[in-house]
């Protein structure tokens, strides 16, 4: 969603910076030649710079809202995305299963790799011991499994 500031953005300055970056990315989608894009980016920067010195916060917030609105209304239908970034073509294409999946193997499956699982169990014990030494024992009531 282009009209929502990025996660973790809190201050007004951060919101403006976020808007500026998203607007640049939107320009990239429209003007794919680098020199043309640079020209348009300078024009965009100029529009932001003109209002940089505004001290009246009410007006600044209003301008930010207008900027978000304009960005939303002119967003490119096919944004230019890197393949592995969110929404890109190769996003999460290669899936690495998490480590805990191995704990749910059937005992018969585990029996194929006796040495590995023996060492794994040993390491789990050592890790729990290390954890308890560092942070204390866990409350039994809070255990879910």
């Amino acid at each position: 969603m282009a009209n929502v500031p990025l996660y973790g953005v809190k201050t007004h300055a951060q919101k403006v910076c976020s808007l500026y970056k998203r607007a640049l990315r939107n320009l990239e989608a429209y003007y794919d030649r680098r020199n043309v894009y640079r020209y348009q980016a300078v024009l965009l920067r100029d529009r932001f710079d003109k209002n940089a010195k505004i001290t009246d916060m009410r007006k600044a917030v209003e301008l930010l809202k207008e900027g978000e609105d304009e960005l939303f209304k002119t967003q490119h239908p096919i944004p230019k995305l890197f393949p592995t970034s969110q929404g890109g073509v190769a996003h999460q294409r290669v899936v690495t299963p998490p480590d805990w999946v191995i704990d749910y193997w059937h005992p018969l499956e585990k029996a194929h790799f006796p040495e590995y699982f023996k060492r794994r169990e040993q390491r789990k014990k050592e890790f729990i011991a290390m954890w308890e030494k560092e942070y204390g024992t866990a409350d039994k009531k809070e255990e879910k499994h």
Binding site: E28, A29, Y30, Y31, D32, R33, R34, N35, V36, Y39, K73, T74, H76, P77, I78, K80, L81, F82, P83, T84, V89, A90, H91, Q92, R93, V95
Partner: protein, 581 residues
């Protein structure tokens, strides 16, 4: 497994290539002797209703099989390198082989039940191949593909139940002499609907660009040359029945619009594979429309030549995507002809064949089609749809070529691009050879009908005019200057509409599911959890409870109730005795 000398890829390639050769010689033999073989194996006979498994071998099925075997063999050879880092390579190859098997079942059967087997197999395997990369995008695309194709499967199932009336499902026997039968017309309409889903004609066309989430070899085999032409092939087989039908005129309009819509959307698209998919959609529209004008042999001719150069185009796209580290957006690309000259050569030749540049594969079929369109008695709208789409083909091909090869490289300031190995290139050269010669050899050997075409000079040159205009437009829009005004932003709403395929993906995903989910929710609230609950579940319990409380009174062993009921009973008895006489 990849390091073995005879990997699964090489064995499959060898097997399929040998099958292609066998098919080729049989095809020549069948054509020379004008032979047809029909084999039937009766599975069950019941009240003169026989379910048979039949195989029809004639020049048409053998020729199509030969092309499918050729493309699948080189695609599998190509995947050895393309899918090199894949962990489940055997699964991939087995899925592709299953796909080839389903395709064969579809091609050789003159029987609607065995067609359903092949048809459903195609749908299922293509679903498995689209979701081969297991990310969210692939899952969504796979669902869209599978459900759109499911509509066609249901139509085939309805056709099977309609054909129960004839006592057999060998449709090939009924085509000619039941031309004016109302039931046959119903069957024909449903076959057309089924073919429209498989070949992604207009109401169902959103799945084809979405299916580009599949690995590129799959796109080269499945979504460009074979699966999507299954619908066209089915209609070619059914063509005798379809003459003089109103529905066919509707098909002409819809396929013409598909051709036009796909051509326009390809000009707005930036995803390399989606551009090629949209051009496939445009060519499918061309095949369908020429078929609905009553020229099935031309549709078949274009189907075959198109299969060659479109598979090649996808394979080139695969090499480019590999080289660019999975980037498919053409805005990142440019100037690649300096780094991968051989692939660029293949890409350019297949693009030119697609545009119908003389003496390449596409020319022989496309030019004949367009001249016959000019020749036949059609209205102005269809005429314009054809010629505008031809111009648009040139338009997007030129744009793509400019973006890929002429403009500057646009991703990094330091880069090192190169062809990876000869495995992919070798398999591409087979198709390169075919996309140069297949048009001429098919037109000299097989489709050598003496069409007498007589046109005015300007109408004859119309193809060249629209191609030149399209090529120039393609050059201009890809050549962006600093001071040029962005036309996309000026016509934002219209461009959005054209860019997103006339909002068809939205209509067939959100559009459909929103209303049906709403309806489902209101049905759930009003019927399932409302009225039917009152009348069956909860309400019945209330009634039972109420009456059981009431009847409890009788079970309290109250002497007065027994006495009272005894008196009433005596009274009834008395009255009966009185009035009986």
């Amino acid at each position: 497994m990849n390091n073995m000398k005879y990997s699964i890829c090489f064995i499959s390639f060898f097997f399929l290539f040998m099958m292609m050769m066998v098919n080729f010689f049989f095809m020549i033999y069948f054509i020379m002797n004008d032979m047809v073989i029909l084999m039937e194996w009766e599975i069950m006979s019941f009240n003169s209703l026989s379910i048979v498994m039949s195989i029809l071998l004639d020049w048409m099925s053998l020729l199509f099989m030969m092309f499918v075997f050729l493309i699948s063999s080189v695609v599998i050879y190509y995947s050895k390198s393309y899918m090199q880092s894949e962990l489940n390579l055997s699964r991939f190859i087995i899925l592709v082989l299953l796909f080839v098997f389903s395709m064969m079942l579809l091609i050789i059967s003159p029987n609607i039940i065995s067609i359903l087997l092949g048809w459903d197999g195609l749908g299922l395997v293509s679903y498995c191949l689209v979701i081969y990369y297991q990310n969210l995008k692939s899952y969504n695309a796979g669902m869209l593909t599978a459900l759109s194709n499911r509509v066609g499967d249901v139509f085939i199932l309805i056709v099977i139940s309609w054909m129960l009336n004839y006592g057999s499902w060998n449709y090939i026997f009924y085509l000619e002499f039941m031309n004016n039968d109302w039931e046959m017309m119903m069957i024909g309409s449903m076959i057309i609907m089924a073919a429209m889903t498989k070949s992604a004609q207009i109401p169902f066309s959103s799945w084809l660009p979405a299916a580009m989430a599949a690995p590129t070899p799959v796109s080269a085999l499945v979504h460009s040359s074979t699966l999507v032409t299954a619908g066209v092939y089915l209609l070619i087989r059914f063509n005798m029945m379809l003459l003089d039908m109103f529905f066919l005129k509707l098909l002409l309009l819809l396929s013409g619009l598909t051709m036009f819509m796909a051509g326009i959307s390809a000009n707005y698209e930036f995803d390399l594979k989606k551009i090629i998919a949209l051009s496939t959609l445009s060519q499918l529209g061309l095949m369908m429309s020429i078929l609905s004008m009553g020229l099935p042999d031309l549709a078949f001719f274009h189907l075959l030549t198109h299969a060659m150069f479109k598979a090649l185009l996808f394979m080139c796209a695969g090499i480019i995507i590999h080289m660019m580290n999975d980037i498919q957006d053409i805005r990142f690309m440019g100037g690649i002809s300096l780094y991968i000259p051989l692939t660029s050569l293949c890409m350019n030749i297949s693009n030119m064949a697609l545009c119908g540049i003389p003496f390449l594969a596409g020319f022989y079929s496309k030019d004949l089609i367009l001249e016959l369109v000019s020749f036949s008695n059609l209205n102005l709208m269809i005429f314009f749809l054809y010629y505008l789409s031809t111009g648009l083909t040139m338009f997007y091909s030129f744009r793509l070529m400019m973006y890929l090869m002429v403009n500057d490289f646009n991703l990094l300031s330091i880069f090192n691009l190169y062809d990876e190995d000869y495995i992919m290139l070798k398999s591409m050269f087979v198709l390169l050879f075919m996309s140069i010669i297949s048009g001429s050899f098919l037109s000299w050997m097989i489709f050598s009908y003496p069409y007498m075409i007589y046109l005015p000079f300007n109408l004859k040159m119309m193809v060249i005019y629209v191609s030149l205009v399209g090529g120039m437009l393609g050059y201009f829009i890809s050549n962006m200057k600093i001071y040029s005004v962005n036309k996309f932003l000026m016509t934002y709403n219209l461009s959005n509409f054209l860019c997103l395929m006339w909002f068809m993906p939205n209509l067939s995903t959100y559009g459909l599911s929103y209303y049906f989910l709403n309806l489902g929710q209101s049905l759930l609230k009003n019927i399932d959890m409302g009225w039917s609950e009152i009348y069956s579940g909860f309400g019945m319990m209330q009634v039972m409870k109420k009456y059981s409380v009431f009847y409890n009174v009788y079970q309290m062993n109250n002497f007065m109730i027994y006495l009272f009921s005894f008196i009433i009973w005596m009274f009834i008895l008395f009255m009966m005795l009185m009035f009986n006489n």
